[in-house]
């Protein structure tokens, strides 16, 4: 291929990549052309040609910079936000509208829609059964939006509006403290001292969903009782944040007797694709399955208390 043909074909390639918005690939081809031309002293109007290609390359550079700087999670329209909520919130049976509201707002936050998520959490804070979870998630959103002062004001306001019990308030300010620390901020004594003592390490039973890793199965080590010394592994069939659903065959009578609703399980291995974690959990429900392929077996929901 002579030089002219080679240049022509490289330019054609560059244009095609540009059309497909393969900007870096296009840039590379323009650079190749410039290098070839620079080595040719005999081509007429060589400098003008080089300048023309450089101009094309410069405009690509502008586009590349613009692309690199574009935001990963820009706020999208309300219509799209509603679609995101609908498509990406796990539909769970038997949960309240309020809890569903929390789950939907968490979905929005995961897609970086912090402003809208915050609006929804701020509304949910006024509903007693989800107030603590709403407040903690709202705090995270405020920090994502770099609005720590507004965060402090909001939490104080909610407390004054009697949204929380003193215990909840203590737990929320404790959460806030560590969330601020994680963001490299000092909360200082901005929050009024809670009126009640707060035992550290309190369980976050709220669905602070995205902190919980995916658990594929669990292993229970029985330290006492009729199954003392035994280790039982059960697959997780469904997970929503810290709530794990398991299916136990009806034939496992002894096991089912030990895992009645409300039972605390102290020594649990949580198996995730990344690692095994030790922790504790509590049985939230234990119900017989009435229809479908697993009819007769039992569906257990267990809540991770600590991990």
């Amino acid at each position: 291929m002579n030089i002219k043909e080679r240049v022509r074909s490289l330019l054609k390639e560059a244009e095609l990549y540009k059309d497909q918005r393969l900007l870096k690939e296009a840039r590379k081809k323009y650079t190749d052309v410039i290098e070839i031309l620079e080595q040719q002293s005999r081509i007429q109007n060589r400098d003008a040609l080089i300048a023309a290609v450089e101009k094309k390359r410069d405009s690509l550079d502008t586009a590349i910079i613009k692309w690199d700087q574009s935001r990963v999670n820009p706020e999208v329209s309300g219509k799209v936000q509603n679609l995101i909520k609908r498509l990406f919130t796990a539909s769970e049976e038997g949960i309240s509208d309020e809890e569903n509201g929390i789950n939907e707002a968490i979905t929005l936050a995961k897609f970086g829609q912090y402003r809208q998520a915050l609006e929804e959490f701020s509304r949910l804070v006024h509903l007693p059964i989800v107030c603590a979870s709403a407040a903690k998630n709202a705090i995270k959103c405020y920090l994502e939006l770099s609005e720590s002062d507004e965060c402090i004001e909001a939490v104080k306001g909610w407390w004054q509006d009697c949204c929380f019990t003193p215990e909840q308030y203590a737990s929320i300010t404790h959460f806030m403290q560590s969330a601020f620390e994680k963001s490299g901020l000092d909360l200082g004594d901005a929050m009024a001292e809670p009126q009640v003592g707060f035992a550290g390490g309190e369980d976050f039973t709220a669905p602070i969903d995205d902190d919980i890793i995916d658990i594929t199965s669990i292993g229970i080590n029985f330290q006492s009782g009729p199954m003392e010394g035994q280790h039982v592994e059960i697959d997780v069939s469904f997970q929503s944040g810290s709530l794990l659903s398991l299916i136990v065959a009806s034939s496992e009578k002894a096991l089912l007797q030990l895992l009645l609703k409300g039972t605390a399980i102290h020594d649990v291995d949580f198996y995730s694709p990344i690692a095994i974690f030790k922790g504790a959990a509590v049985v939230e429900s234990n119900t017989g399955i009435l229809s479908g392929p697993k009819k007769g077996d039992f569906s257990l929901d267990i809540r991770i208390n600590s991990i």
Partner: protein, 216 residues
Amino acid sequence: MGVAHLSQRGKFMAIFNIQKREIECKIVYYGPGRCGKTTNLEYVFKAFKRQVTGEMVSVDTEGDSTLFFDFLPMGLGKINGCDVRVQIFTVPGQQKYSSTRKLVLKGLDGVVFVADSLAVRREKNLISLKDLQQNLKEYGQSITRIPLVLQYNKRDLADEGVPIMSVEQMERDLNRQLKVTSFEASATKGTGVGKTLQECLKLTLISLHKELQWSK
């Protein structure tokens, strides 16, 4: 309790409502940025009007790269006495959208991996396939077990005089271990697009049929 326990959209399970005899599964188009995932779906939207049950929604950027996802709802009618609905998504392929990509992948039942035939995109194909494997693993799924088909897209560019990879090379690069069905395609022209999706749907439904033991 009308919905079997297995029915909930957990990490990787189709929604199966036994009482209503409805099944809803999720297919995801995966692949490197600009390989033609959105173009595939646009073609499906136009060419399979009878199966399409709603609008196609694209959440994209100014430069028309996918930002969050494209979404297309389809209905396949009754299969084995069950009404089968399909949600099709494309992920954003560009590197910088890795966290959204992972969110969109969650709960999938089948994957179409679209690879770019352009020689300059060879490495990006490999990285993206690896990324798919890793993300599936983090959801407790395995790329060797999930219903998967490969598509070698942009075959039409062979006529444009730009360097594209041979199918043999792409097979060696991407399919040596997986050994799944692969298709040549041109999403802009529409060739191979329907076949790719049909094969993926077929594999997905076979797999769900086994898993959910759904029958008449």
